[in-house]
């Protein structure tokens, strides 16, 4: 059997290795999270290096190595160059990568996560004026992709039909008056609607509108999205702080 194979995926992260090489971590369609060594990638003029930049979608030919898979060839599918040409988009895309690096599993294909990551990066690459709203949306959608969908239509605990006005991170979404505990925050219908839009898979194009119109509701929904993802994915997202936020917003939803 050949020790070389081809796969397609997204560059999540690059790190220095030795004199002129790089460790490139990819989310591949076939093999899931994969750490590769790209020889000579840091030399100016390296074709492999120029193509294996963070957030690019690439076709790769890999060779089984001892510690890392070794990159033989790279073809660009989608360069996503806009995500490196603007530090705000760079920061936003980094949050997507941080989430995927945390939840993806080595050697395991995950069609949903691959599709979500590609869609999120493509949406960011259109250089929206409010990249932070795309980040918030990705957080809720990624949580859903790995088994923690946020509930906004009915009570997340007892299924009582909504709408409900209590919003809980730990509880998994909106809660009815009976299920809501002492500390569960009451929020306006606008916040719940904003959370629903963020979490609604497929509607990336609705996000710029949400950012423009929903004002403080969106800011509040955004901080809920962060708290939700960090709680259910069990990870503090350090890159999230690098994402620029609209001015001082309303108090955070935490619990």
């Amino acid at each position: 059997m050949s020790r070389s194979y081809r796969d397609r995926g997204v560059v999540l992260r690059t790190q220095r290795l030795g004199e002129a090489d790089r460790i490139v971590t990819l989310l591949l369609e076939g093999r899931g999270l994969t750490r590769t060594a790209a020889k000579g990638a840091r030399r100016p003029g390296s074709r492999i290096g120029a193509r294996l930049e963070p957030f690019a979608v690439v076709d790769v030919e890999l060779h089984r190595g001892r510690t890392f898979e070794v990159v033989r060839q790279v073809e660009t599918v989608e360069a996503n160059a806009a995500l490196r040409a603007d530090d705000r988009l760079w920061a936003a895309a980094s949050v997507l990568a941080e989430v995927v690096l945390h939840v993806a599993v080595e050697g395991e294909r995950d069609h949903g996560l691959q599709r979500l990551l590609r869609a999120g990066l493509a949406a960011l690459a259109t250089a929206p004026a409010e990249p932070d709203v795309f980040v918030d949306a990705f957080l809720l959608r990624a949580a859903s992709a790995v088994g923690f969908p946020v509930r906004t239509g009915s009570c997340a605990r007892c299924d009582a039909p909504g709408p409900h006005a209590h919003l809980s991170v730990v509880g998994g979404g909106t809660l009815c008056g009976d299920c809501a505990g002492e500390g569960t925050q009451r929020v306006g219908a606008g916040v719940v609607a904003a959370v629903r839009t963020l979490a609604d898979d497929g509607a990336w194009q609705a996000l710029p509108g949400l950012a423009r119109e929903a004002g403080p509701d969106r800011v509040r929904a955004g901080s809920y999205a962060r708290a939700y993802a960090e709680h259910h994915l069990d990870r503090r997202l350090r890159s999230y702080d690098a994402v620029e936020r609209p001015g001082p917003g309303s108090p955070e939803v935490r619990e």
Binding site: R13, T14, G18, R51, T76, A81, W90, A91, E98, L101
Partner: protein
């Protein structure tokens, strides 16, 4: 694997950047088998470097005095600041002998995944140098990779409207190559950076 001091040496060498376990062993055996004076001179040099070499208080390049050699040189144009990621980039540019301005070493590039933001880099120090006045041009000479591009974009935003002209090093086709061998990222940058012939 080895005994006491030899193993410690292999371990220490192996912690150096770019030195793998094999190289660490090879260097260690070279030091053990070689001339006594050579090994002692190397050890003394490492100690001396640690005792005398510091960071320039103005540009953060390496220096043996409060100011580095470039910052002390009055023949250079101190209103022209070339911003680089690492101190070793200063020496790469100095080797060209084409640049007669000053430098500013950022100490890295924006990397949200590693928790490196503007506050972790010497951005405030650069802004302070510009605010002092007398700076007519800032050249952004970051690496041409993703982190470098994002950092350059950030700095050009931050420096916009502060006075000096802000420029970016041309990035395009590597010298000595065939056009059809270039990757599309490099080619598209070469197009974007084209100039009058």
């Amino acid at each position: 694997m080895y005994e006491g001091a030899l193993q410690s040496l292999v371990d220490e060498l192996g912690r150096l950047p770019g030195v793998g376990p094999k190289s660490a062993q090879r260097i260690a055996f070279h030091l053990v088998a070689g001339e006594d004076a050579d090994a002692r001179r190397l050890a003394a040099t490492i100690v001396r470097v640690r005792e005398t070499v510091t960071t320039c208080t103005r540009c953060f390049s390496v220096a043996e005095q409060p100011l580095c050699r470039v910052c002390r040189d009055e023949r250079r144009d101190h209103g022209l600041i070339c911003v680089v990621e690492e101190a070793r980039d200063v020496f790469a540019i100095e080797r060209t002998r084409d640049f007669a301005g000053a430098y500013h070493v950022l100490g890295g590039a924006l990397s949200p995944l590693d928790g490196v933001g503007p506050d972790e880099l010497r951005v405030a120090e650069l802004e302070a140098r510009v605010a002092e006045g007398g700076v007519h041009e800032v050249i952004l000479a970051m690496n041409t990779n993703g982190a470098g591009e994002a950092t350059a974009a950030f700095l050009s935003r931050r420096l916009a409207g502060t006075g000096p002209r802000v420029t970016r090093l041309a990035s395009g086709l590597p010298a000595g190559g065939d056009l059809d061998y270039a990757d599309e990222v490099t080619l598209s940058r070469a197009f974007a950076g084209r100039r009058e012939a």
